[in-house]
């Protein structure tokens, strides 16, 4: 094996890594935002809303991410075209981003829901008793506490998401893995590039999960 050819390819690999990181961060932000709304819907007294959110979660949790990515890749531009009636260009990355956000939202929803439920009923009663409305009670009292409690789980899920972004390979987005593969292929050293990509993924997610474990220990004392 000869890893020397990786060095000239590093700049374009960095570009790929940037795509991966961008995708991860935006999907986490979007996923948590949508997931939180879903969690609130699942916990709401309105049973229609709760059931709809429940169905959403069950639905996305029972189909493979790869299928969602592929499907959305073809579907999102169509849908957006139909809905808005215009022909604004929807990049492949945008399609994937939407797929990730909607898919991960189902997983984040369950984490957020557990987080909210772990905050006692007494806290929301106290907030109401002080005259706050539902929105204020959630925003000022329940969610800040819930998010603190579920931080480790959210981060863990984000690390999984980071790894899962490599599935955009299926639709040919030049993320880190796909760049490495394509570079390795054109140079005729696919094995070296593959191992290198694996190593980088490992280093990033291993150090991230080590950090999360530490954070977890710190929070639990």
């Amino acid at each position: 094996m000869d890893f020397s050819n990786i060095i000239p390819a590093l700049p374009s690999m960095m570009e790929g890594l940037w795509v991966t990181v961008k995708l991860t961060i935006m999907a986490v932000i979007g996923g948590v935002a949508i997931g939180t709304l879903l969690a609130l819907a699942r916990l709401s007294k309105n049973s229609l809303l709760a059931n709809l959110a429940g169905f959403y979660v069950n639905y996305f949790r029972s189909i493979p991410l790869l299928l969602v990515i592929t499907w959305f890749y073809f579907m999102v531009p169509f849908i957006i075209g139909w809905v808005t009636g215009t022909n604004r260009p929807i990049g492949a990355l945008t399609s994937c981003l939407i797929a990730f956000m909607l898919f991960e939202a189902a997983y984040f929803c369950e984490i957020v829901r557990a987080g909210i439920q772990s905050i006692g009923k007494g806290q929301i009663n106290a907030a109401y008793a002080l005259g706050m409305n539902y929105r204020q009670a959630m925003q000022l009292i329940i969610l800040p506490q819930a998010f603190r409690k579920m931080m480790p789980l959210l981060l863990q899920q984000s690390i999984i998401l980071f790894q899962d972004t490599s599935l955009v390979y299926a639709v040919g987005i030049m993320d880190f893995l796909n760049t490495a593969r394509s570079r390795g292929d054109i140079i005729g050293q696919p094995h070296e590039f593959l191992l290198f990509a694996g190593l980088i993924y490992f280093l990033i997610s291993f150090s991230a999960s080590t950090l999360v474990t530490r954070l977890n220990k710190r929070l639990s004392v």
Binding site: F74, P77, G81, I90, G91, A92, G172, M174, I186
Partner: protein, 278 residues
């Protein structure tokens, strides 16, 4: 006059999205950075220039979107890419879904095998592992042949040409069926190009075209005109020479693939018909 369809979309958004390939050597592929190069890539820049002129937008942003044999048609249809110039065959079935520009190349579908292997034609492949790329015309031809002639081949459908060649090179398949020009491109990339040979009787003659959305005559006209003038001015010969008769990245190997009479014919009398229609 009022703009419509793709031209309007490009004008409104200030962006044009080109579909490209990552391992269609030497038509459209990635060598050193994330910008595609190749024969078709050069032709698409001609087209982009023409669009810039047509819309009077010299600073039009060009975005590239990687497509595969399997994804290219839906992506043209759903608007993710505005047009695709790679190694796509114009045929009747595809014409139902997308529109094609004037033909830009002509190929035959053949086999790539190890030079010292006993496999010289399709008939030798009965019971063997044969690779081709998913979503290509070759895949359909091969599957049909296998079924009709009861050849008992194991057909591997790889994701792109690079992967197909990897299958061949690593010994998982004894032959790789694909367009002859693309096979020559894969050879140029191989560790030792002289180990490989393109063999077999061509199973179909196909004309490549650039794909765009159907029912958009204004856009098609700009694309066709751009190609036609490149053909007429003879500039296409320079481009051809650059990619087929000179060393090309990444290895700096020369394909030595002289222009066929059919292609000369096509350039002399440009048409957007498929090979079946001629």
């Amino acid at each position: 006059q009022e703009l419509s369809g793709t031209l309007k979309k490009i004008k409104d958004s200030g962006v044009i999205v080109l579909g490209h390939r990552d391992s269609s050597i030497p038509f459209s592929y990635l060598a050193n950075d994330s910008k595609p190069i190749g024969y078709s890539a050069d032709l698409s820049s001609k087209i982009v220039d023409a669009i810039k002129q047509e819309l009077k937008m010299p600073n039009l942003t060009v975005r590239y979107n990687l497509v595969t044999s399997q994804t290219r048609i839906p992506l043209v249809q759903n608007g993710t890419v505005d047009f695709e110039c790679g190694s796509t065959t114009n045929n009747l079935e595809r014409q139902k879904q997308v529109a094609f520009s004037l033909g830009i190349f002509e190929i035959g579908t053949r086999l790539l095998v190890r030079k010292d292997s006993p496999y010289k034609d399709f008939a030798d492949l009965a019971g063997k592992n044969v690779v081709t790329t998913a979503g290509t015309t070759s895949e359909r031809i091969l599957k049909k042949m296998n079924d009709e002639k009861k050849m008992g081949m194991n057909i591997i459908s790889a994701k792109d040409h690079g992967e197909s060649f990897l299958m061949l090179e690593s010994g998982r398949a004894v032959a790789f069926m694909m367009d002859d020009a693309l096979l020559a491109g894969e050879m140029a990339k191989a560790k030792k190009p002289s180990d490989w040979a393109i063999v077999g009787k061509s199973q179909s003659n196909e004309i490549y075209g650039c794909m765009m959305r159907k029912d958009d005559p204004a856009f098609k006209k700009v694309v066709d005109n751009a190609l036609a003038s490149t053909f007429k001015s003879g500039e296409v010969n320079t481009i051809y020479k650059r990619w087929f008769l000179s060393p090309v990245p990444p290895k700096g190997l020369n394909l030595n693939f002289p222009m066929s009479d059919e292609l000369k014919q096509l350039i002399a009398n440009p048409t957007d018909k498929s090979a079946e229609q001629m």
